[in-house]
Every structure is written in structure tokens, then in C-alpha cells.
Amino acid sequence: MSRAAEETNRRLLRARDLMDRSYAEPLDLATLARVALVSESHFIRTFRDAFGETPHRYLQRRRVERAAWLLRSTDRSVTDICLDVGFTSLGTFCRVFRDIIGETPTQHRRRGPLGPVPSCFARAWMRPIG
């Protein structure tokens, strides 16, 4: 691995950090690719090489993770949470949530509150895989 590859990783990490921070906003590929200083098509490929999934999937899992956290930590309605984390359609949100988590938002809420841990670790460790 050359210094150039490390710098590419670092820029991709910057784009990933942006997804972790601004998941509630309508992030598009152009914005993320600009942060990573690569073309859009190159961005998808290099991101997947570095982190093992496409940027789209990464963002989707981040949004679902944040939604799962809000469901278990607040009393906000499922619809409000869907919009809070950046989904624009309740139907899409519920389908993606169930695909990734394996249960509906309402079922997930019944699991109850999470323990106290720095939020960055909660985010890193609770972002669903698979």
C-alpha cells in the first residue's frame, strides 16, 4: 500500500464520517464523491473496496441504526423517526428496517432502552450488518 492509497482511504473515511454525521440530510453521491475528491463512479468502487459495502448501503444501515436507537431511546412516533433519520417514505423505511433488522420498528421498540456507552461506540457497534 502506497502513501497515495492511504490518502485515498483517509478521504473515503471523510465521506463516511459525513454519512455518520449528516445521515438525516438528503445526501447524494455527488456530495459524497466531492468530499472524497473522486469521481462518482470511482467513489462507489473505491468505497466498497475500503469498507466492504457500497456508500448507499452504508448510509442505509446508518439510518436504520439511528432509527433503532431512537425507537429504543425516545417516545417519538415511527413516522417522525422515519423522517428524522433521512427516509422520505414510511413504506420504504419500514421495508428497509425489516430487511436489515429482521423485525418491524414497533417490534424493535419493545426491546427497551440501551445501556450507557459513548454514542460513537453505540453507532459503530450497533450499525447492523448482513
Partner: protein
Amino acid sequence: MMKRLNISGIYVLDQDQALDFYVGKLGLEVDSDVDLGFMRWLTVRVPGDPDHKILLERPGPPSMNEETAEQVRAMVSKGAAGGHLFFAVDDAHATYAELQSRGVELTEEPTDQAYGIDFGLRDPFGNHVRIAQLKED
């Protein structure tokens, strides 16, 4: 038995750049910066907290072979090297604003947590730093 944590270490990809960041931007101070010939022993500490030093180590031969060093550098640059640092401050919002004005790469805004208010940032290499204003016990 153990008395206290004395030194803990993280990997950095360039020690001069690490000094610029940890001393110049975050406001830590140099504890020791010694050319031992075989390595540059570089530690920093929080001003007023001399008992805990942070070793800023450059991964490379001969402590590890070049292939391993490449893997370590790749992990650091992906934010996956595990070099977390947690600092405590009196005022998270003021510190955030100050670091923002110094051009630090902030990754999360000050957020209310059960244990206080904290925010996140990255060093130039990809290491994760967390700064918290902890609740009084």
C-alpha cells in the same frame, strides 16, 4: 500492583504532522521528543496532567516488517486501527468552537449524553478522538 496508567500509545503516519496536530491544534504539550537512533520516542500529554502520556508511534520496520506496516497504515487511514483517545474538558461547546476555528476535522457536534456532553473528531491520519464535558459525580 499497578498504580496508574502511565503511557498509552496510538499509531500515527507522520510524527511531525502528529506534533502539529496534537500540540498545535489540540493544545497538548510535548512530554518527550527524543531521537534514540533506532526510533523517535515521541510522547505528548495534557498540560497539567503529567502522569498520563500518549506515545505517538510510527508503524514501520524493524519493529514490524514493511508488509505489516502497510496493513497498519491502511487500518489507521480507514479509522480502524483502534487508536481512540478520550479527553475531558470543562466546556464542550467552547472547546468545539475553538477547535473548529483552528480547522480541526470535527465529526460530530456536541451532543447531550447520559454521562455529559461530548463530540468527536479525527486526527489527520484517521484516529478517532472524543472530547467530553463529563457530569459531576
